[in-house]
């Protein structure tokens, strides 16, 4: 683990007053106790990481601190006085700024207009003073050593640059406490380095930082202390210097090695089900992969490495410029997903809600959609057969739903993901591509989904799994293929690989030397 090089503030803990203290916060949503007696504190100039599994309550806690939600019980103090933000505006006035994962910028406007949104400087005539706005923005960005022009449109920025603009926006308003929610999820390595530098500088200026993340490596690189949440409760607070990643994982999960790696190997004699040869489809630059029947190949890499695009090309959503896709040894040229489907390929997309589900339609209809050929006789759909099919596969995958008629939007993330898997399993595919199989699902469903994928592999399906969750890659894969900057750069054996070796292989060389 990279050692933190900013531990100066640690020495002073205890002698200083606290910046923010949160005491006994309870927050429930209908049917869910999201936060259960949560207390924690942040010191001035401290970088305080908050970690926990999905659904542990991190976001809810941050939303309460930022004034978006009101707690049911509990109190907060900011610099020693009561702090009860009625809404986000009030929190901002008190000096608390939050930068969300998704960002909150207006794409068609310039960087300067975004930073001063809602409070543009005006001249004597009451018109917006663009010169002044640009100048302030320029100063702000230079201060952060961010090389972005104030007049650039946000739409033209990379996701990472947008994140930095979002942070600059937060900083432009006298901030005492800055909350960053998964700030590096869309950043490149060099952008993340820059962000860390900025965070450290802010800490030196005694701005407090709450850093919400699920990436432990980042906690150990940047944070002074870490608070771990589990099921809405604080399961531990540690000084980063005096802990190790395993301890934090234990606090997060509360169980020993939840998802052990399965050692079963796939015999090399198993036939190759999917073979990708030098496939080029920008941003994918020459990638080759083989997946044998019964094998789980995990595609690892950084965000933006071209993994999703590679899968989309195999599934006929994008057209390759060159290269070949072979299924069971014969070449296919899918021009539309239906072509790939007819060749025996299925795909569960990354974005369940946008690209996968028909949210307002029933569970049965969601499963039936990819299986209409099977249940159509002379052009007529047999509804009873759709239901039968849906019943069969929701039973097999143990989907929790009150009925097959229930609109799928009312199901939990894990069950929605199972419905998507059921859709494809009903087609009995030879090859299944699963992009981020467990994003946004709770720990229990995660275990179910792993079991389903392993069972599928055992039955002889070739699985190509894209995952950004490295423990997941290590737990699931029979073989790990690493992509970097649009290319497949190597293979790893999960028995010998660890998170560090994957990241090393996934990190583009140019950026490593540049960044440090």
């Amino acid at each position: 683990m990279p050692e933190s090089n900013n531990k100066s503030s640690i020495a002073n803990i205890g002698s200083q007053y606290t910046r923010l203290s949160v005491k006994g916060i309870y927050k429930s949503f209908p049917g869910v106790q999201a936060l259960d007696d949560v207390s924690f504190e942040v010191l001035p100039g401290e970088i305080h990481a908050v970690v926990g599994e999905n659904g542990a309550g991190k976001s809810t806690l941050m939303h309460i601190i930022a004034g978006v939600y009101q707690p049911n019980e509990g109190k907060m103090e900011l610099d020693g006085s009561f702090y009860i933000p009625g809404d986000e505006k009030a929190a901002q006035k008190s000096g608390i700024a939050i930068v969300f994962q998704e960002g909150s910028l207006f794409a068609p406007l310039s960087v300067a207009e975004n930073i001063f949104a809602g409070r543009q400087p005006v001249n004597k005539l009451g018109f917006v003073d663009f010169e002044k706005m640009k100048k302030h923005t320029q100063e702000l960005l230079q201060d952060l050593e961010v090389n972005i022009q104030p007049s650039t449109l946000v739409a033209d920025l990379s996701p990472g640059q947008r994140q930095l603009v979002d942070i600059a926006k937060a900083l432009s308003q006298q901030v005492k406490l800055l909350i960053l929610d998964e700030p590096t999820s869309s950043l490149t390595i060099s952008e993340a380095r820059l962000l860390f530098k900025i965070i450290r500088r802010l800490a030196e200026l005694s701005v407090s930082i709450i850093y919400v993340t699920h990436r432990l490596a980042e906690v150990f690189e940047i944070a002074d202390r870490v608070t771990v949440l589990r099921d809405g409760k604080v399961s531990g607070v540690r000084e980063v210097e005096n802990t190790i990643p395993d301890e934090i994982i234990h606090l997060e999960v509360g169980r020993e090695l939840l998802f052990a790696h399965e050692t079963a190997r796939v015999p090399v004699e198993a036939s190759i089900a999917l073979e990708i040869e030098n496939l080029v489809a920008p941003p994918v630059k020459s990638s080759s992969i083989t997946v044998r029947a019964g094998e789980i190949v995990c595609l690892a890499g950084l965000v933006g490495a071209g993994r999703t695009e590679l899968c989309e090309t195999i599934f006929g959503i994008r057209q390759p410029v060159s290269g070949r896709i072979l299924v069971d040894g014969s070449e296919i040229t899918p021009r539309h997903p239906i072509d790939a489907m007819r060749a025996g390929i299925g795909m569960v997309p990354e974005d369940r809600r946008e690209a996968g589900l028909f949210l307002s339609m029933s569970v049965a209809a969601n499963i039936g959609v990819a299986n209409m050929e099977k249940v159509t006789h002379m052009g007529l759909l047999a509804d009873s057969e759709i239901k039968q099919l849906a019943k069969e596969y929701t039973d097999t995958l143990k989907v929790v739903t009150p009925s097959l008629e229930r609109e799928v939007m009312y199901l939990s993330g894990g069950n929605q993901q199972k419905v998507l898997l059921a859709r494809w399993l009903a087609r009995q595919p030879r090859i299944l591509i699963v992009d981020e199989p467990t994003r946004g699902v709770d720990v229990g469903s995660k275990a179910d989904l792993y079991a389903i994928l392993r069972e599928l592999a055992k039955s002889g399906v070739a699985l190509l799994v894209v995952s950004s969750d490295l423990p997941e890659v290590l737990a699931l894969a029979h073989r790990i293929v690493v992509m970097s900057e649009g290319r497949t750069v190597g293979e790893l054996n999960p028995d010998q690989a660890d998170e560090v070796s994957i990241i090393q292989m996934a990190t583009p060389r140019s950026i490593i030397t540049q960044g440090g």
């Binding site: 959609v369 990819a370 007529l380 939990s412």
Partner: protein, 340 residues
């Protein structure tokens, strides 16, 4: 605050179902109108008929008046079927009135000026509509110009082209062309029966055939539909071509019924058809709506029209009322959507 729902859901975990069950019960009442549109329409139609029977006993409950109301549903019914299918798929067509007029004129010119057999002129008119619809579909699915703009442009272009072809229309169409729109069967004129067949066939298709069921998936989530193997562009193209065909059918029937092909025919039919479809349960968000709902929407609008005529309300009021009905229907739709 787009952030709220997503984070709420993250925290929901395994309890989400329980939570939403309760929510659904609470909002059941609010969403009821939006959910059971069929019952609501039947109720409204009954109330309206009862009120009219009571208020105008000499004018309303008469066989002739009922025949007039049903004849009035013919054109709007044919068009609303097509509009409903498009709305289920999440799009709509503003050029139907112009296609209607253009098809009528083409049929009129064919039968009167060129002198082809009436049945050929009829088919010519209908196919003209198909062609116009196919052009709409081509522009929308190939050039990726949105449906609103494409069909709005087509509305203007075709109206102008129609006037270019026949400055004021084609009058006094030959005897042989008239039976299509003027034959009576069981006391009702043929356009009603044509509409009845269109409605029945479309109802069957939308509820039972694989092809037409694809519109529901596309309207619900176009991207997911494509990723599930549905050829979205092809289905949309056929939807617009079908809308054009039905407009051509309506235009040719109108010309036959009036013995005249009128250049200004069909103005305002787009508004009426969209209103009837939304009334009948379609949503601007796509993915929902039924053909029987569309027919009830059409019937309801014809009754309102009939009521205004019997009550001797000036003609311009009809347009005001239709516009207001559309706003109310869309308001209900939005209400139901927000409750979800």
């Amino acid at each position: 605050m787009s952030l709220k729902p997503s984070s709420k859901e993250n925290e929901g975990g395994t309890n989400t179902i329980k939570k939403l069950n309760r929510k659904w019960n609470l909002q059941r009442l609010g969403g009821y109108i939006a959910r059971d549109r069929i019952l609501l329409l039947i109720l409204l139609i009954t109330i309206l008929s009862g009120f009219m029977t009571f208020t105008y006993p000499e004018a309303f409950p008469q066989t002739d008046n009922f025949a007039a109301v049903l004849l009035d549903t013919a054109q709007n019914g044919i068009l609303t079927v097509g509009m409903m299918i498009l709305l289920v798929g999440g799009v709509f067509d503003l050029s139907i009135g112009s296609i209607l007029a253009f098809s009528g004129i083409v049929a009129g010119i064919l039968v009167k000026d060129i002198g082809v057999p009436p049945i050929v002129a009829l088919l010519g008119g209908i196919l003209t509509g198909s062609l116009c619809g196919a052009i709409n579909g081509f522009i929308i699915t190939r050039w990726r110009i949105n449906a609103l703009i494409t069909t709005l442009a087509m509305q203007g272009i075709l109206r102008g082209v129609t006037q270019l072809f026949a400055s004021s229309g084609v009058a006094n169409l030959p005897e042989g062309f008239r039976p299509f729109g003027q034959t009576k069967f069981l006391g009702l004129q043929s356009p009603f029966w044509v509409m009845a067949i269109v409605v029945l066939v479309a109802w069957f298709a939308m509820s039972h055939t694989r092809f037409f069921r694809q519109f529901y998936y596309i309207g619900s989530n176009e991207r997911a539909a494509g990723l599930s193997g549905i050829k979205v562009d092809r289905v949309n193209f056929i939807g617009f071509a079908l809308m054009g065909t039905l407009s051509g059918l309506a235009g040719t029937l109108l010309a036959s019924r009036l013995s005249n092909a009128v250049v200004l025919a069909g103005i305002g039919t787009d508004l009426r058809a969209i209103t009837a479809a939304i009334l009948g349960g379609a949503s601007l968000h796509g993915g929902i709506g039924t053909i029987h709902g569309a027919f009830l929407g059409v019937l309801f609008m014809s009754l309102i029209q009939n009521m205004l005529i019997i009550a001797r309300v000036p003609v311009f009021w009809q347009s005001i009322v239709v516009g207001m009905v559309l706003l109310i229907a869309i308001g209900i739709d939005q209400l139901g959507w927000r409750n979800q």
